[in-house]
Amino acid sequence: MSDWIEIGHIDDIPRLGSRVVKSKAGDIAIFRTAQDKIHALLDKCPHKGGPLSQGIVHGDQVTCPLHDWKIQLASGEAVAPDEGCARTYRVRVKAGTIFLML
């Protein structure tokens, strides 16, 4: 039963920042890039589960706060040579409102 869920407004997240959506599936990190692109990843680094939402966002990547892996926001893939992938979620923005598909 997947549905678009309204989770808030784009301005709830600072540029180059991130907020967490709590869900049964676990925390989901919602990122906003400098270009106002919104991405959603499971808030668990593929390395040792670090909370990606707490990392520094740059370009279209986030650097994990625990051991500095870089994760692509769009695909969840770790930047080579690290290997691993964080689960991605679909997001959609309509007139500033963000919807998330669980």
């Binding site: 869920i5 989770i7 808030g8 709830d12 997240i13 600072p14 540029r15 180059l16 920042g17 907020r19 967490v20 959506v21 709590k22 869900s23 049964k24 925390d27 919602i30 400098a34 040792k48 589960g49 670090g50 909370p51 707490q54 990392g55 520094i56 966002v57 740059h58 370009g59 650097t63 706060p65 625990l66 051991h67 500095d68 870089k70 040579p81 998330l100 669980l102």
Partner: protein, 812 residues
């Protein structure tokens, strides 16, 4: 219309300049290149291995014709330029064609010096400079037997070694009694000579050539002492002469080389000169490393950035004769004010000499074991004070504990399963495999692929040595300036100077002005920029939370499970029942999973959820406690012993002093964390001598110690000075912190910073220059006005609430 850029000289320095320029400004110019050799651009320094049949010409091509085409560069090979007309801004080629320029780069290199003795024009008498010379040598080797190389320098020996490998009977003639006397002292020169003799080279030392005899081709060589020997090939390798005739004929001021300033411009500002033909601050260079540095600066200027300046280079040398390990850098001749450290083991054929002036390395010569060459070179280039490591210096980097917990004697003797990086559990074998499989060449690549040296970095030296012993190196490119990170070309110092000079006050402004290569930097450069701006513009700069590491952004330490720890300030380690009770109540109220007394003399509450933080802080604030900044690149703690208040040995009230220091300096942001301690007497129970600033009470007042570190690599402090009053302690402390804040690179603790700049420098700034010290202290106190705002209170009152609350909880 694009401006026209013309390059004369299709060699190593000129093309490197274009490569650097294309990286910075790919579309700025219409570029035309003239070269009088018939080839594309090739790696001249590898001509020696080509001659020795270890490489082919194809191996050494750097840029083939396709590269020029791909970059829209018009290339004219086999075309010599004979005239520059500065009035019309044109150049003329030997076939008469003219080309106009807006800017011109001259990089005509140099030519071998041919000794003007009778017979020097005979066939079979050549220099060693280009592909044509190598072709002639190979041709001679296939037809003739006897070769003579005149000149026992780097180039001559490489030529001789190559010719021996081609089967010729080679005699090296040298004027001096030491080979490579410009790079080697006589002891190392003698070692070199005997190992070359073992390989079949013959030497005539202290022989001066008087004439070459022959009909059409050279047949005999005569010396001033009357000796005469047969020679079918004579290679002259006695020196080079910068090619300046073209520039001179156009009236461009030249001496030994074409004179250029720090932006590599000649006296005609439209005309640049780089490479061996250029003379900068009275020096002409004959090695690639400095020329590449020049190329970088010239490109920066041509790209109209105007940020880089060339200040000259220090060079090092390696002989490219396989099987012979030789390294030399800097000055090695003794004089009145130098000292020599010498290590000799003739049995193993090892010789090491390090020359020191004012406790700094100014030169080194290594033979047989050159592993530490790059390290000595680095110490020399950075002007590092070696007093502390002096007794172990000759035993190499591994002996001084730079290799952290994994000290091993010798890289090659190290077993594959020896752990190199203790942080990431990487063994030597892993590193070697990655280097070979992935074709890695630099420390950064190894870090990226193996994680070795990617954490605390203490094993970086060992990793570099493994790299060197695995891939070997044809020549040592001096580890030129180090950019902050991959987002920029510029160093920490350049960025700092630029943002002050041009009054840049936002991260965006710095990135735009300095042409960052990435859209918004990375997790390395953004925190550095944020700090530099904060330090440069106190009260004015608006801190960028998004450029702070999570700990500093939320003012607590992130833990491995994503929870946070909270450490309230406890000045000088002093506490009381009320505070402890309040902490205990808070621990109960929020069900704090674990508590601990830290190594910094205060109490840590572990395992808190981010959402809980503002409420806990509010409660701590209510009990009179504020943030301890245990998470920041900032002042951490001022530890203290109990001192004269209770201790039977105490000479001073260390607790009061510690509290005063902490009150003055809490909240200040620093390049890395900054720790202090105050002990009441030299028994030093507060361990003040491994702190960034340690204060030790003595009968007559206080000793001030600086630059200690108790972390990965323990470093005891240096004594700065003794003072008498509390006011002096505070002033020196403030001044020292400010000097560190203004001059250290981001993420340098005081210990490596002081090792880099030297204690003498710090003393100059803080002791000899009394007014300077007062001004530093004033600047520190000024910036503290804006820094001493308890971040916990602000957040407990609602600042940045979005940080601490989830966006939404989805329940279904």
């Amino acid at each position: 219309m694009k401006e026209k850029l013309v390059l004369i000289g299709n060699g190593m320095a000129g093309i490197r300049t274009l490569e650097e320029l294309l990286k910075l400004a790919p579309d700025l110019y219409d570029i035309t290149v003239f070269g009088d050799e018939p080839h594309g651009n090739y790696n001249r320094i590898l001509l020696s291995p080509v001659l020795a049949a270890e490489k082919t010409i194809d191996d050494i091509i750097l840029n083939d014709r396709q590269w020029y085409a791909d970059n829209n560069i018009m290339l004219h090979t086999g075309m010599r330029i004979t005239k520059i007309n500065r009035g019309q801004r044109t150049i003329t080629a030997e076939d008469g064609t003219e080309t106009t320029y807006d800017r011109l780069i001259i990089s005509t290199g140099s030519s071998p010096f041919i000794i003007p003795v009778p017979g020097s024009e005979l066939e079979g008498v050549i220099g060693f400079r280009d592909i044509q010379d190598v072709d002639e040598m190979l041709d001679a080797a296939s037809k003739y037997k006897k070769a003579v190389v005149i000149g026992g320098g780097l180039l001559g020996l490489e030529a001789a070694d190559g010719l021996v490998k081609q089967g010729m009977d080679v005699t090296v003639v040298h004027l001096e009694n030491t080979l490579m006397e410009r790079q080697l002292d006589s002891a190392a020169g003698a070692l070199l000579k005997s190992s070359l003799e073992e390989r079949g080279l013959k030497f005539l030392m202290e022989h001066q050539t008087e004439a070459l005899l022959g009909d059409k081709r050279v047949e005999q060589i005569c010396f001033s002492n009357g000796l005469q020997i047969p020679a079918d090939l004579v290679v002259m390798a006695v020196g080079i002469r910068p090619n300046i005739e073209l520039a001179q004929s156009a009236g461009i001021h030249s001496e030994r080389g074409i004179v250029v300033n720090d932006t590599l411009q000649t006296y005609d500002p439209r005309i640049y000169a780089v490479g061996e033909c250029a003379q900068h601050r009275n020096i002409t260079y004959g090695l690639v490393a400095p020329l590449f540095e020049q190329a970088k600066v010239a490109a920066n200027q041509l790209a109209q950035l105007g940020i880089s300046y060339y200040k000259g280079s220090i060079t090092s040398t390696k002989l490219k004769v396989s099987g012979i390990d030789l390294f030399s850098a800097g000055d090695f001749q003794q004089s009145d004010d130098t000292e020599e450290l010498l290590y000799q083991d003739p049995g193993r054929g090892v010789y090491k000499k390090v020359v020191i002036r004012n406790n700094r390395i100014i030169g080194s010569v290594l033979y047989g074991d050159t592993l530490d060459g790059p390290w000595y070179f680095q110490l020399m280039r950075d002007g590092i004070d070696i007093t502390e490591m002096r007794e172990k210096l000759l035993f190499g980097q591994v002996s001084i504990g730079d290799s952290g917990h994994s000290a091993t004697d010798h890289i090659s003797a190290m077993p594959d399963d020896a752990e190199v990086c203790g942080c990431n559990g990487v063994c030597k074998g892993d590193i070697v495999n990655a280097i070979i499989d992935k074709g890695l060449f630099t420390l950064d690549e190894v870090k990226l692929h193996t994680k070795a040296a990617a954490s605390c970095g203490s094993c970086a030296g060992v990793v570099e040595q493994i790299l060197a012993s695995t891939v070997g190196s044809d020549f040592t490119i001096s580890p030129a300036k180090k950019p902050i990170c991959g987002c920029t070309e510029y160093t920490h110092d350049e960025v700092r100077a630029t943002l002050v000079k041009y009054e840049l006050k936002e991260i965006r402004a710095v990135m735009d002005f300095m042409e960052w290569k990435t859209p918004d930097g990375c997790s390395k450069c953004r925190p550095a920029l944020n700090y530099y701006l904060l330090c440069a513009w106190p009260g004015e700069y608006v801190d960028d939370a998004r450029s702070r590491f999570i700990n500093e952004r939320v003012h607590a330490n992130i833990q491995k499970d994503g929870t946070y720890s909270v450490i309230p300030q406890m000045k000088g380690g002093m506490t009381n029942a009320a505070e402890l009770r309040a902490i205990a109540d808070i621990a109960d109220k929020y069900a704090v999973p674990e508590m601990k007394v830290t190594g910094g003399q205060r109490i840590d509450l572990f395992g808190l959820k981010k959402e809980q933080l503002p409420a806990i802080w509010a409660d701590l604030n209510a009990a009179g406690m504020i943030s301890g900044h245990a998470y920041g690149k900032s002042l951490r703690t001022v530890k203290s012993c109990i001192g004269s208040r209770w201790c039977r040995f105490g000479t001073q009230d260390s607790v009061t002093m510690a509290v005063k220091l902490e009150e003055m300096s809490w909240g200040s942001w620093t390049p890395h964390k900054f720790k202090m301690a105050v002990s009441g007497c030299p028994r030093n129970c507060a361990e003040a001598t491994i702190k960034d600033l340690g204060v030790v009470g003595i009968d007559s007042g206080w000793e001030l110690h600086i630059g200690g570190n108790g972390g990965i690599k323990v470093r005891a402090t240096d004594l700065l000075c003794k003072v008498q009053t509390e006011a002096e302690v505070l002033e020196y402390a403030a001044a020292f912190m400010q000097l560190y804040r203004e001059e250290a690179h981001y993420l340098d603790r005081t210990a490596p910073w002081i090792e880099r700049v030297g204690l003498t420098y710090i003393k100059q700034c803080l002791i000899e220059d009394g007014d300077g010290r007062k001004r530093l202290a004033e600047r520190f106190l000024l910036s503290q006005k804006y820094a001493q705002i308890d971040p916990w209170r602000a957040r407990a009152e609602g600042k940045e609430a979005h940080e601490f609350a989830p966006m939404i909880e989805v329940v279904d």
